[in-house]
Symmetry: C2
Subunit: 411 residues, 2 copies
Amino acid sequence: MQQRLTDYARLIVEVGANVQAGQTVLVAASVDSACFARLIAEKAYDAGAREVVTRFYDEQLKRMHFLRADAAVFDEVARWVPEFYNEYAEKGAALISITAADPELLLGVDPDRIQRSNISTGTALKGFYDKQMSNAFPWTIAAIPSEAWAKKVFPDLPPAEAVERLWDAIFTAVHVGAGDPVVVWREKIKTMDTRAAALNAHRFQKLRYKNSLGTDLTLTLPEEHLWTACGEEAGTGQVFVANMPTEEIFVLPDKRGTEGVVCASMPLSLNGNLVEDIKLTFEGGKIVKAEASKGLEHLEKELDIDEGARYLGEIALVPYRSPISEMGILFYNTLFDENASCHLAFGKAYPKFRDMAERTEEELLVRGMNDSLVHVDFMIGTADLEITGMTEDGREVAVFRDGNFAEGFGV
Amino acid sequence: MQQRLTDYARLIVEVGANVQAGQTVLVAASVDSACFARLIAEKAYDAGAREVVTRFYDEQLKRMHFLRADAAVFDEVARWVPEFYNEYAEKGAALISITAADPELLLGVDPDRIQRSNISTGTALKGFYDKQMSNAFPWTIAAIPSEAWAKKVFPDLPPAEAVERLWDAIFTAVHVGAGDPVVVWREKIKTMDTRAAALNAHRFQKLRYKNSLGTDLTLTLPEEHLWTACGEEAGTGQVFVANMPTEEIFVLPDKRGTEGVVCASMPLSLNGNLVEDIKLTFEGGKIVKAEASKGLEHLEKELDIDEGARYLGEIALVPYRSPISEMGILFYNTLFDENASCHLAFGKAYPKFRDMAERTEEELLVRGMNDSLVHVDFMIGTADLEITGMTEDGREVAVFRDGNFAEGFGV
């Protein structure tokens, strides 16, 4: 176990954030993850970090805050909060987030409080999130178990065993336990880059999604869009991996060109509440109807945050036979579930264009890049998902068949 | 145990910080104290707190920082740090610090790094500490055990038992376990105020300290000085108790009027290192010679931080028969040891004057109030300590005899 923990921490530091000598490292972790945060700090110093700054939070206090604080606080953000994030962004610090979230942390909390908090925090941190989503600095998100999370994933096991099983699942998902994971990941980045290149070669104009769940959706890709895999380059020049695990190749849509219906294939933990059986109907790019069998009020609140929340910001392709999917575990955690399944996100887009460097933000918005305070991934992959690409010259290309990449897009 | 924990948390909130309805509460706690921090937050919300903000730190990461960070960071303070504290000070927030410090946390760390960090942090937070020491907002410091601390106090016990014993000792020191501690403390504040009044009635000009340890010291009290007990009034109007436990009556000296020699009677945990057998020689108020059998380099570094570090800033009277002293435990923690023993502090003074409200800071400095980036208490009480007061009209009054208050100053 200790060896796997150490390997995992080293992987997060060396491949995830790819910490460079002399770089400041900012770690965000829950107080219950303090042991692992210390291991991350150790590995960061081993990598030559100038300084490791850790911001600890506590989920139980977060819940108490949402339940008991004065209602007015949800419209406010302390001045020091954006100062904090902007200062480390300016320094080009590497940001490492360790999550261990309880999927239903905010069950029973007034959705209005959550929405107001998301609006005020999102607005105060807009500049920071813009920098993060355009990779001004390297950042990575990885997970470790918490008891609350493990109990949700393995409800029939005793807590300690559930935690152990979740550790095993996480290690499997991030390729820890079979040789040097740093080497495994460097190889993986290359393989996934090849797949992204195959998608880019087609310069698709549209993608049509269909499956037996009821999805019948047409997406439009913007001019000069760039399918991207896990190895991204930060403004600081270092190649980093934003999510661990990762199995996706992703791009942004032209926000105006989404038509039809999409049905989610997994529950979504949204703002500490589960939303199940999501069904979204699009017209002219906009979500004009949102349905869910559970947690609809949380979904509606999120979609009402701003105009951009009702448009898509991400298209991600993940084979149904992905290593994570094959574990057959529902993680109730987007970091894992989104890498077991094709997914979309509504809200702000990651700016992924071939000619990024020469374009202004305004030019990208004109191409249909979406902006919003929110960015919410939701899973739509199924065993029978078919995705067909349409090229500029009118050809149709099978991209997904039977839930997996079709021929020509790698194994 | 749960009842005592709850009582203790309620005591800290209701008497220590005396949290008012609608007030913001800032809690500082180590990640290992998260459970207790949650209890504090609960009690603070029960008291009507508007919002509880918790800042968690980790001692092991602090040690790693001092050992491994780039040397240049010790001369810097991130901009958000003073922003953070100043923002809550401006709001009149109640500040609750939960300490659980390892007395030798920074053993083996280069004292130069510690000194530089103290200078840069002290300078960046000078405005905040000035506000705190003049009680612009209510603040309180209380302790809970950590394993590292408990092992130092009870080195012969197994760790779990040592922690349990330390809990018992803490509960005894803060009067938890015998009736409603809030009621006990309200009574205690009254008793101690009576003792402070008795001292104030004499308007002493000088105090002479003598004991068999080698102490032979004369202290000078400034014009209009005000002996103060534990119930202090904050700028926000609420009466709070800055330290829990507390057994001291304290005042500030005229910094220029200290002459002679004082010998410490207990080890001092200073910047995460133990300093033992401290002996200080004063001329014209200034420490001209510092001696110690252990840790002298840490003491010297602290005294060299600025000019004011070599002058006294506090005189505190605690009977040798104080409830804490009678436990016969050396806590290696100033919060406890200083309340088992008469003590002095070198460095910045708490401004304690009868006519505070009508005086400017400049006028108080002219009276001999000391200013510095540091404030370090050290224990000097012994079973044979004699303190004699000299009044304006030349009378000598026995203040302490055989280590305890002389007749006329209460039991």
